[in-house]
């Protein structure tokens, strides 16, 4: 009796999980497919393309013919690399110091950091601070306000605390000073955790656009996500990238629809995320389960 129930349950739950997975996957496939067609196919098939018949990279070629996308991509790479490196450095400093159990004043120092998870100054006061420090329109406006991530400090601090104390003691007996201890022993031990945190911070930097919207008027440092957002609200994207001067400019085979251009932008904006996703997945599955085991 219960065996039959189990079979029904397995069938139903497999169907639901499969359905939800398709619901996640189909929009992604649709976006990619739409980015791979020219205007001819788009017209022929009434704009409904789950799989391109004549895949072409024309949308990508057009987007990269202009300088805007390239400039936004390089600005994003700079802010992501610089931002991730600095956040990781500062977060590690904070976590390392706070992991020293015997440090006088450790509790208030920890409290000092954790309070900011609960209360913040809000949009306008933070904007005024950035403005008064003359950071507007510079890449530092995208990096300095988020220089330490309080949650990551907590995670990394716990990681340092779990490194066996004997390791530290034997190093001190061997005559290692504080600098040697930190750089030669503790940080290498914490490298996997730092790599995981770095990946998450990097993804956050790659994805952010709201700070650029607030702090940058000048489009020189506009990141790719903000460019995508602006191009989605532009009604001229089709004309912008289908300009005359191209051979047979009005033949739909040589043109690309505004929809395909937008979908190509979405793919460009996600491609790096998809590239690091396997590493992310490895880390968060492992990390989350370990965290749960510890309670």
């Amino acid at each position: 009796m219960s065996n039959g129930n189990e079979k029904v349950y397995q069938a139903v739950s497999s169907a639901i999980v499969l359905g939800l997975t398709l619901l996640s996957a189909i929009p992604l496939i649709y976006v990619i497919s739409m980015s791979l067609v020219n205007e001819q196919e788009w017209i022929d098939r009434g704009g409904f393309i789950l799989w391109p018949q004549n895949p072409t990279l024309i949308a990508y070629e057009r987007l990269f013919q202009g300088t805007a996308v390239l400039q936004a991509l390089s600005a994003t790479v700079v802010r992501t690399v610089l931002g991730t490196a600095l956040v990781l450095l500062m977060t590690t400093l904070a976590a390392y110091v706070l992991s020293k159990r015997n440090l006088p004043g450790r509790k208030p120092m920890l409290f000092f950091i954790l309070v900011t998870i609960l209360i913040g100054g809000g949009l306008i006061p933070t904007y005024l601070v950035v403005r008064d420090l003359h950071l507007l329109d510079s890449v530092w406006a995208l990096i300095l306000p988020g220089l330490v991530d309080s949650w990551s400090v907590l995670v990394l601090k716990q990681f340092f605390e779990n490194i066996p104390g004997e390791l530290e003691e034997s190093a001190v007996i061997d005559g290692a000073g504080e600098v040697t201890l930190m750089c030669k022993i503790m940080i290498p031990m914490a490298a996997p955790a730092m790599a995981a945190i770095g990946l998450f911070i990097g993804v956050a930097h790659w994805n952010s656009w709201f700070d650029a919207l607030i702090y940058l008027d000048d489009s020189k440092w506009h990141p790719i996500q903000l460019l995508i957002r602006n191009m989605f609200s532009s009604s001229e994207i089709g004309a912008q990238f289908n300009n005359a001067g191209q051979h047979n400019a009005f033949n739909p085979v040589n043109r690309v629809s505004a929809e395909s251009l937008k979908m190509a932008l979405v793919v460009i904006g996600t491609l790096p995320i998809l590239c690091v996703y396997p590493f992310l997945q490895k880390h968060f599955m492992k990390g989350m389960y370990l965290g749960a085991v510890k309670g």
């Binding site: 939800l20 954790l114 100054g121 809000g122 949009l123 933070t126 995320i273």
Partner: protein, 309 residues
């Protein structure tokens, strides 16, 4: 710990001098928090009670007491904004809180491990996309030329203006939020589920319990603390209805149903340059938010046995 009688602790100064290097390392961290985290909090408390004038700056501008607050609370559109914020948050909880729990249980119980692996891999992806990308995907699905309208017109229906129609705004916001986070939301429950002792399941099987009895008597009690904890936590943040997402999705046509506190502050503050008024709204939001999160934590401790701190 010592067994050789009391050891005199060295004085605080001596102990602190031993750690001078660590304090030195901590200085940049302190500077960061003071400048970018604490000073804005302080400014918020000042600016909300001043009438900011660009020419005189923050310190030269006159004090106006509670004028900014009385002005905001006299505006009828502010109540609309407040209502939208709470309604959208509650809709998110009502429709978005339980699906990850159900999905986590189904994934956990799946016998086919390849289906579990493949579906988990795909379901987690959207969590790592920015809201801009999510908007792009929603656009692909729901714009006038999008997939859904192609399907509707294909079967003879009439085109729906999903992205601009007020009646579709909240379903799209809540729905795309669920689409983005349903997979990621399962992780914490899956972690709790793996913590349940497998021998309990074995015993239930021997006793002839079916899948529904198993879920009701073992699985659900096993994740109950996490569920209660996350539920109270989500109640604690009802004044934050998702500014990035709404800023992308809304338009003047949908302000009426979509304008929330954060987007209101954004427009009034940064577009209209009403710094003081926007800061007052921000302070109001912070104070209520803090009260809510502290009460939520108290509730979580009381009913789930675990608080945030």
């Amino acid at each position: 710990m010592s067994i050789s009688g009391p050891v005199r602790r060295p004085s605080l100064v001596i102990r602190m001098r031993r750690y001078w290097f660590l304090y030195l390392l901590f200085v940049p961290v302190i500077v960061y928090y003071l400048v970018f985290r604490y000073y804005p909090i302080f400014l918020q408390g000042i600016l909300a009670f001043k009438q900011y004038k660009l020419s005189s700056g923050i310190w030269g501008s006159p004090w106006v007491g509670f004028d900014n607050f009385t002005y905001v609370f006299a505006r009828p559109d502010f109540y609309n904004v407040l209502e939208n914020t709470i309604v959208i948050s509650l809709l998110r909880i009502a429709f978005g809180f339980f699906p990850p729990i159900v999905l986590a249980i189904l994934l956990f119980d799946l016998r086919s491990s390849w289906l579990r692996r493949v579906s988990q891999t795909i379901l987690y992806i959207p969590h790592f996309f920015s809201w801009v990308i999510i908007y792009g995907i929603v656009f692909a699905m729901f714009s006038n030329t999008g997939m859904v309208n192609q399907l509707i017109t294909g079967i003879g229906g009439s085109e729906q203006n999903f992205l601009m129609a007020p009646e579709w705004f909240r379903p799209l916001i809540v729905g795309s939020g669920i689409w983005k986070e349903i997979g990621w939301g399962t992780i914490i429950y899956l972690a709790a589920l793996t913590g349940i002792d497998p021998s309990i399941y074995e015993a239930a099987k021997v006793d002839g319990a079916g899948p529904l009895q198993r879920i009701r008597h073992i699985t659900l009690p096993g994740i109950r603390p996490v569920v209660v904890f996350l539920f109270t936590l989500s109640l604690g943040s009802v004044l934050n209805a998702g500014v990035e997402q709404i800023l992308l999705f809304y338009s003047p046509a949908t302000y009426e149903v979509g304008d929330i506190i954060d987007t209101f502050v954004f427009r009034q503050g940064l577009n209209q340059l009403q710094y003081s008024m926007a800061t007052a709204v921000g302070l109001f939001q912070s104070v209520i938010g803090l009260i809510l999160i502290l009460s939520a934590n108290w509730l979580a401790k009381r009913y789930a046995g675990t608080g945030i701190w």
